[in-house]
């Protein structure tokens, strides 16, 4: 009886599921075939002879474009309006890096996502110290290099020094030269073109540096408040001081207690400007500005973060003018 019932049950089930079974098998077969076919597809040939460069930041991508001109095809990993510390690379970014001849990055520990990105792309030419990578921190005189044992009690500390070095246009010179040297090494046939582009860029940058120095002369020595400790290089260039931040410790969001401390600090020192990056929430700096009557200077960390920062020189120009205007307005 049991077997009869079982057989009957099995028969009905088998009948009902024939269509489903066929569907599943077909779907599985198709999926397996497609997967197999695409895994085995040959690598597509390069359509162009341009050097393909993947840069982690839009600022680096712009410098590569300035120096490489028409000889390079540049892509950026981190969208400029996002905090470069906390990017979640996407499959399309993996593909950019995989396809690139050259991978340009900030080095140090700015891009915590760089390691997983390189692992996912799996192109050994882009690993540290390999021919297809360019670490732009090499050659930079780093600031805030730790001189004491580090701990996360200190917050999101940088192990090798502050990595936001590209905000100083003097470092722009060093980076542009390093890019020119690398492009020439990888594409020696166009060395003269890269040298000419570099000369042209440095000529324009040097002219602006003199102008910026002149512009900053009226505000030198003044103190401003930051949100995150990402401006020491720009402070050095402008002669400004930034000793306190809305973040009580790097990476730790502002607290009411700390805002109270900053309010007192600003009153005591007569600080009139708060430097606010575009990608951090404005609520804390708005509260502090309201309490102290200070102005917020909205600065960019990277090229194309705002429309005004259309290229590297425009990006530095925007930051410096924003700060000087806020300081002069704030003191006026």
């Amino acid at each position: 009886m049991k077997n009869l019932l079982s057989s009957s049950f099995r028969g009905r089930q088998a009948e009902k599921s024939n269509f489903l079974k066929a569907g599943f098998l077909l779907a599985s077969l198709v999926e397996m075939t497609v997967a197999l076919a695409i895994v085995m597809l040959p690598i597509s040939a390069r359509a162009e002879e341009k050097l393909r460069v993947a840069a982690t930041l839009s600022s680096f991508a712009d410098l590569v474009k300035q120096v490489g001109g028409d000889r390079v095809e540049v892509s950026t990993i981190a969208p400029p309006r996002f905090n470069p510390h906390f990017i979640e690379p996407r499959p399309s970014d993996v593909l950019k890096v995989k396809k690139a001849d050259l991978f340009v990055h900030a080095g140090l520990d700015l891009e915590a996502w760089r390691g997983p990105l390189l692992d996912a792309a799996g192109n050994p030419r882009h690993f540290p110290n390999q021919p297809g990578e360019l670490d732009l921190s090499k050659g930079i005189s780093l600031l805030e290099v730790p001189d004491q044992p580090l701990s996360r009690l200190m917050g999101d500390i940088h192990l090798f020094g502050n990595p936001h070095y590209w905000t100083d246009p003097e470092n722009g010179r060093i980076m542009a030269r390093a890019i020119a040297a690398k492009l020439s090494e990888m594409d020696p046939a166009h060395t003269e073109e890269y040298r000419k582009n570099l000369e042209d860029f440095l000529g324009r940058l040097d002219g602006k540096i003199a102008e910026w120095k002149q512009l900053c002369s009226s505000v030198q020595g003044k103190e401003v408040i930051g949100y995150h400790n990402e401006w020491p290089y720009l402070m050095r260039f402008t002669g400004l001081r930034m000793e306190q931040f809305l973040e009580p410790k790097p990476g730790v969001p502002p607290s009411p207690k700390h805002i109270g401390f900053l309010e007192e600090h600003m009153r005591q020192r007569g600080i009139r400007v708060i430097v606010q990056p575009t990608y951090f929430p404005r609520s804390s700096s708005d509260v502090l500005a309201k309490r102290t009557g200070a102005k917020a200077a909205i600065l960019c960390q990277n090229v194309k973060e705002l429309p005004e920062a259309s290229d590297y020189i425009a990006f530095v120009d925007y930051n410096i003018r924003q700060m000087v205007q806020a300081l002069e307005g704030g003191n006026g």
């Binding site: 489903l20 593909l95 692992d119 040298r195």
Partner: protein, 421 residues
Amino acid sequence: MRSSIWIMVLICALCVAAPASVRAETSNDEVVAELREMRKALKQQNELIQKQQAKIEELERKVATSPMAQPPAPTGTRPGALPGQIGSLLPEIGAVGDIVATSSEDDNDTDGNDRVAVRHVELVLGSNVDPYSRFDASLTYSDFEAAGVEEAYLTRWGLPGDLTARFGRFFPKVGKQASIHRDSVPTVDEPLVIRRYFGSEGYFRTGADLTRIFEGPAGWVFQPSLGVLEGGTGEGGTVFGSTRRRPTAYSHLKAYKDLSDSSSFELGATHLVGSKDADPQFEVNVFGVDATYLNNLTPTSKLLLQSEVFAQHRRENFTVNDTTGEETRFDRHPWGAYALAEYRFAPQWAVGARADHVKLVDTAGPRQYDQGLSAFLTFYQSEWARWRLQFRHEERGPRETDDSVMLQGTFAIGTHKHKIQ
């Protein structure tokens, strides 16, 4: 005589003195002339220096603008440049603690009900082995089971055809949430379909797989994967039997598209074929589809919508216990799904909900399905510490229900990197 001598000396002295004063006047003119000469020479020197300075600057500029110019020597300690380069050879080491407090209606004294439990402590190690490969391992410790190896695998890059291979124990690319570490799951618990079919901690098996990523038409990115794994499932999983001898084959195709610089859509298809046990007639096919929409609305807020469906085709109806004669029936086409939404509305806060439904494999009793609804609130204390509160309502068949409240703390120390999904 003596006085005349003195007079003579005096006269001589006067004679000497007188021309001296005359000479002094002469000498002043000479000094002035000499000074003029010197000034002229100085001016010439200055001009020369200026010319030389200009020449130096020109040469410096030529050198500096030469593409072959090397940047100056770096300053500061660089990654991997610790004294003696010891740091370069040490693997990345990190640990993740996952502690969960649960208050539940469930009478069972298992799974951390009505207690605070160390659900998971994960020790993570990883490093490049050589220029071609990398080794990663995750060792897990828990209140609920013995210490184990969750992952231990070698990744080999640069194979012919741009393929990447993995060999060892790893999370195969089966759907989305079955293939990620617990600390990356957006809820305290895994979706019911994952827990019931693949196991309570997701699906990780020992085997080998091949993956390739390439660009398709219209900006789509495709990533197919193929692999062969040991049989069986994770803890509590029912999709395959417990025997590991008959391998499971899996394939996955991910299709991904950027909709903008901040939003994306991903569609995945998974197929697994394995066995319930060693008997080859008990074959199980699993077909899955997953879809994920992610939008980073602002630099500090994002929206995640995700859903997965898994359906099985099982070559069996029932089993009969040889001793007792007891019969256990099986649904030949069980399926399960979940839908999840998570909204990170502030840098430190996220809220979300999940709906689950799964038809059970073992349908001998009245309990044919499980389903549930969950709501959760996440507080990101910092980059390395997170708190999550979840309310879960589960219906286990038509009669049994369980309402639970869970508080989860997840903490990471050392190096902790998430693989790109």
